[in-house]
Amino acid sequence: MNAQNRSAIIWGSVILGIIGLVVLLAMVGGEPSSNGNGSEGTAELVDPVSLDEHIKGNPLAPITIVEYSDFQCSFCERAYPGIKQIAEEYPDDVRIIYRHFPLRQAHPQAQIAAQATEAAALQGKFWEMHDAIFNTSDQWSNASAKNFFIQLAGSLGLDTEQFEKDITSSAVVDAVNEDLRTGARTGLTGTPTLFLNSKQMSGNSYASIKAAVDTKLDELRSKNGDEPTEPAEHDNEESEE
């Protein structure tokens, strides 16, 4: 009986300990780092913006917002209309740069979705595809995404034969991977992560982006009063090449 009790205590405490450990880690680890405002941090953009990236708005705008995003991430999808609205409200002062950060294993279709936008970009319709993919996320997340994107390309008036060739081409895959690498170098902790003139932003809702943009605009205006649309003054800026 004594030995039995001892066994029971040993195994009981080990099992309880392990369950506790798993629960604890599931809570800590399960805390979505890819959440609405989870990307608060002080990271700075490592890789400078170049003009051949996907830019929405005035390419020489004084304010640059770089967005690292994943088409299959629900927080990214939720953030997208707000970001789009910012781009529409500040067409001269803000440029939005989209960079891919597909969490490929968690989001099995994120990579091919990113490739679809790159393939569309080859025909000059990156942003159209970007919007269309976010708008239809419930239709391709579980289905055969590639065929869906080819159809989508057709509906956007793209050359679907060319698109089908491009979507899995090595150039397109490399373009996505290159973004992924820059994101890793920057030390991203989740998606979506936004940078305003190279500084990581603390939120990604329409209101928080607008507030940050307005603050920055005021700052820029008070600095160089009568030259409002000077190309951005931050260090990481590289407009040429």
């Binding site: 066994s7 798993v22 880690l25």
Partner: protein, 150 residues
């Protein structure tokens, strides 16, 4: 005789503690794997690249839960010794650590030479596996031959 037993207990506890650390590490990676969040790690940020790479699965089975199973077996074997005091479980455990060492060596190789990015949590698991292996070898060297002597 009494001393030898105490010595065994020390080994069993060492195995247990290190396996628990490894288990926690593997659990975290597993949670991240299924939950889909990206992994916060140092400035190099290699974790996501490593854990989302094609090498994070073997024949379609994710690696992280395999790590959990491995550490769990080590935990069970060491507790089995602490409970029943049968040397066989510790010997079996010591031999079993070779599996962890081989798997970890392969993953370290992948990170350094194939993927080119390092994931700290994965390296942490490799470190605990290596430690388990070293302790296992010390144990076998000290006690492994008793079977034939006795």
């Amino acid at each position: 005789m009494k001393k030898a037993k105490n010595n065994h207990v020390v080994f069993a506890i060492l195995f247990l503690v290190i396996a628990l650390i490894g288990f926690g590490d593997a659990t975290y990676l597993t949670v991240k794997h299924f939950q889909g969040g990206s992994i916060i790690c140092g400035t190099s940020g290699g974790c996501d690249i490593v854990t989302t790479s094609e090498y994070a699965k073997i024949l379609g089975v994710p690696v992280a839960p395999l790590g959990m199973v491995y550490y769990l077996s080590v935990i069970v074997l060491s507790v089995l010794y602490l409970d029943k005091r049968k040397k066989t479980s510790l010997k079996l455990l010591s031999k079993f650590t070779v599996v962890g060492l081989l798997a970890s060596s392969y993953f370290v190789y992948l990170q350094l030479f194939v993927i080119g990015e390092i994931c700290y949590y994965c390296m942490g698991s490799a470190a605990s596996s290596t430690l388990l292996f070293l302790i296992g070898m010390v144990f076998l060297k000290k006690h492994g031959r008793q079977k034939w002597i006795v």
